[in-house]
């Protein structure tokens, strides 16, 4: 069987803030036997524009992303949020442009969040890394409620002998990030993050793991402001790749 050709959608946040998550995703996909291509013209899926009410900006970025990624068998992103934006929102953006709607729909059906892709499409039964310690998992909203990502990351973490999962209370509750919400209503956003961090700390886990960097930056920033210097905040790709 020919190798699966995957276009890695790095995401703008990983590019700017945590390149190591992108490399971890690359390693996981390559280890699983994929041919991974990283289009170097990629920037952002356009979600910030879409959620801010700038439809023309969002449509332009969607077209750019579609054109860059439609040649691959699959598109994979280490983010439920960006994955959900492409999968769920793209097809509805082109009501007046049937050609683009068809292209968007085709791309959407082949776009996956990383752990979902590894479990659902590739059906991997091992991961390259190991990690020693207790972790608690934060279910990010778009991945959970948009793409149904819940068991996939847990199933993969369960493959690692050293990982012990200690679920926190209300792991499915929003962390308060919300994209631009976090910089428009900083006080409210940080207060919601405070509740999330209380639950993380109460779980007693040494690390909180999640699938979306936006949420993780929010959680890490709040934990540190609360004076917690020890809880590690990790992307699931880093943990699975053994890069954490």
């Amino acid at each position: 069987m020919a190798r699966v050709r995957v276009g890695l959608f790095v995401t703008c946040l990983v590019d700017l803030m945590r390149p190591r998550i992108g490399f971890a995703a690359l390693k996981l996909l390559e280890t699983a036997g994929c041919e991974v291509i990283v289009p170097d013209t990629q920037t952002c899926c356009g979600q910030p524009a879409w959620n801010s009410g700038d439809a023309p900006g969002a449509v332009a970025l969607a077209k750019k992303t579609i054109a860059e990624f439609e040649g691959f068998d699959y598109v994979v992103a280490p983010s439920g949020s960006c994955g959900d934006h492409i999968r769920t929102e793209y097809p509805g953006m082109f009501a007046a442009e049937p050609d683009w709607r068809d292209r968007a729909t085709a791309l959407a059906s082949r776009t996956y969040e990383l752990t979902d892709f590894l479990v659902t499409v590739l059906k991997v039964d091992s991961v390259p890394g190991d990690y020693e310690g207790t972790v608690t998992y934060h279910d990010s909203c778009a991945g959970l409620r948009g793409l149904g990502i819940k068991q996939q990351p847990r199933a993969l973490l369960a493959r690692m002998k050293g990982v012990q999962l200690k679920e926190m209370n209300a792991c499915e509750e929003c962390c308060g990030f919300g994209g631009t919400f976090s910089v428009k209503f900083g006080e409210v956003s940080a207060a919601i993050a405070g509740r999330k961090c209380d639950n993380i700390l109460a779980s007693g886990a040494q690390a909180v793991v999640g699938g979306d960097l936006g949420c993780l930056l929010n959680i890490e920033g709040k934990l540190r402001r609360m004076g917690d210097e020890t809880t590690r905040v990790l992307h699931v790709a880093e943990v699975l790749a053994g890069d954490a």
């Binding site: 790095v10 703008c12 990983v14 590019d15 700017l16 803030m17 945590r18 390149p19 190591r20 992108g22 490399f23 390559e30 990283v38 170097d40 013209t41 990629q42 920037t43 952002c44 356009g46 910030p48 524009a49 879409w50 959620n51 801010s52 009410g53 700038d54 439809a55 900006g57 969002a58 332009a60 970025l61 750019k64 909203c141 409620r145 929003c174 308060g176 919300g178 994209g179 631009t180 919400f181 976090s182 910089v183 428009k184 209503f185 900083g186 006080e187 409210v188 956003s189 207060a191 919601i192 993050a193 405070g194 509740r195 930056l217 929010n218 890490e220 920033g221 709040k222 540190r224 402001r225």
Partner: protein, 476 residues
């Protein structure tokens, strides 16, 4: 009701600083969420029932004019009068006229959010007619200097037992009590004389049944029955979207409403009221009026926000909203708080009067998940943001910033350069501490949390460098 939504941000700050309120919110949150989840366990087919309810509500709102006429005809047949109000001012005028024509000096009110929209109590007082709120929560607020409700079904949920104990001690002039049963008894005793002396009862309506011309009322305190059966005159005020076709349909939506609202499989009192008192009947009003109110609803029909008209006012969206849970209902500044309010307030009270509300959500979609009639609230909030942008209502700096960012993101080389500079700048700001304590570019972020430092180089740079390396990647 006066709209204070333009002060959302200041209101939210005040709510966060109010430690008593924070305690009350925390208390209420757990109850609503847990009880709803528990009560849904004994419903055989939640998803199927939801789909059925969506179909029922769609059937009506897709042909609202026809269903309203059908309801009107049936209601007239039962001896009721049906009046139409374009807006809140017309509601106030009609109710006042009805009261005057029947020589009414006191109105006993069951809960009606539409009367809040219309500011009816103030209008009645101005006309020399005394309105008395008889829902316990609404009564508490009325005697506390006419404080507005903070929740659509639990209007005084922001108050604690101690708050109410102090309040009753003050306004009733009785010894301070801290037992809920004793406080409730005290309110009952005060309200009883009002039930007996009010010449007119006023209620909202959870549903209007087209098949029978009836109004269905969901209450937990029995005050709804007193208000609608004891006084000579009963006035029902509802939005025009509240019609459902049949009693069978009522049974379907009633499987969802109390469970979604308060976690009850059935409310303490569920009344279906039809027509005026017949000669052989002992209870009921001699005169029954329906005031069917538009107040912005007709403009929503058939447009981008059509699905919002399905709303059955259970409040599950706000009970499950992380923002509502954090700041409570008053911060939203109008009648309806939470996600539903952030859609309804712009639609009914003006998009330009509530600029912050559609943005005051993380779009986590917990509201969409719990909504019994599957209203896609996050999508509607997003659509409102789009309308704001189209109308140039967002702050100029935000619009320019977004435009500039979207423009740059379409130019990969420029964008890559910007990201390289940004990553280095943020890394430099963080210094050795690995975090930024005050971020001038996004000061809101660092109000209550740090901003973690970036690695310092972009993925793009590191990936390009790796590809230039002679050895193959896999030996890494």
């Amino acid at each position: 009701m006066e709209i204070k939504s333009m002060r959302f941000k200041a209101n939210a700050s005040a709510s966060l600083a109010d430690m008593v309120l924070q305690g009350n919110l925390k208390n209420a949150k757990g109850k609503f969420v847990t009880k709803r989840a528990e009560s849904l366990k004994d419903l055989d087919d939640f998803e199927g029932t939801r789909d059925a309810a969506v179909a029922i509500r769609n059937r009506v709102i897709d042909n609202l004019d026809l269903w309203l006429e059908r309801f009107e005809q049936k209601a007239l047949d039962t001896g009721a009068k049906v009046l139409w109000a374009r807006d809140g001012a017309e509601v106030c005028r009609l109710v006042t006229e009805i009261a005057k024509s029947h020589g009414v000096t006191k109105v006993a009110k069951s809960k009606s959010m539409l009367s809040e929209e219309a500011g009816l109590n103030q209008a009645l007082e101005a006309a020399g007619i005394q309105p008395v709120e008889t829902d316990l929560g609404e009564y508490i607020l009325q005697v506390d200097n006419n404080e507005p409700p903070s929740h659509i079904i639990a209007p005084a949920v922001h108050k604690s037992l101690n708050d109410v104990a102090d309040l009753f001690h003050k306004v009733h002039g009785t010894p301070r009590k801290t037992e809920i049963a004793a406080l409730t008894r005290e309110a009952r005793e005060v309200l009883r004389s009002h039930f007996l002396s009010a010449e007119m009862g006023l209620s909202g309506g959870n549903f209007l049944v087209a098949e029978t011309g009836s109004v269905a009322l969901v209450t937990n305190e029995g005050n709804g029955r007193m208000v609608t059966t004891m006084p000579r005159v009963h006035v029902v005020i509802t939005g025009i979207e509240k019609v459902i076709p049949t009693l069978e349909d009522l049974a379907t939506v009633m499987r969802l409403l109390p469970r979604s609202a308060t976690g009850q499989s059935i409310p303490n009192y569920f009344s279906i009221l039809t027509g005026v008192k017949k000669p052989e009947e002992r209870d009921g009003p001699e005169h029954l009026y329906f005031i069917l109110v538009d107040s912005g609803r007709a403009d929503v029909v058939g447009g981008d926000f059509h699905a919002m008209l399905r709303c059955i006012r259970c409040g599950a969206c706000m009970n499950h909203c992380p923002v509502y849970q954090t700041i409570g209902g008053h911060a939203y500044g109008w009648v309806y708080p939470g996600p539903m309010g952030s859609v309804l307030t712009p639609l009914y009270a003006g998009i330009e009067n509530s600029i912050d509300l559609p943005h005051a959500a993380t779009l986590c979609n917990q509201c969409g998940v719990v909504c019994p009639v599957k209203i896609p609230l996050p999508a509607l909030l997003r659509k409102l943001r789009e309308k704001q942008t189209e109308r140039g209502l967002r702050p100029l700096a935000e619009r320019i910033g977004l435009r500039l960012w979207a423009w740059a993101a379409q130019r990969p080389k420029l964008y890559a350069l910007g990201a390289r500079i940004g990553a280095r700048y943020l890394k430099w700001l963080a210094g050795d501490s690995n975090r930024i304590r005050r971020l001038a570019l996004a000061p809101e972020w660092t109000l209550g949390r740090d901003f973690p430092a970036p690695q310092g180089k972009t993925f793009r740079e590191l990936y390009a460098a790796r590809r230039r390396e002679p050895e193959p990647r896999k030996t890494r």
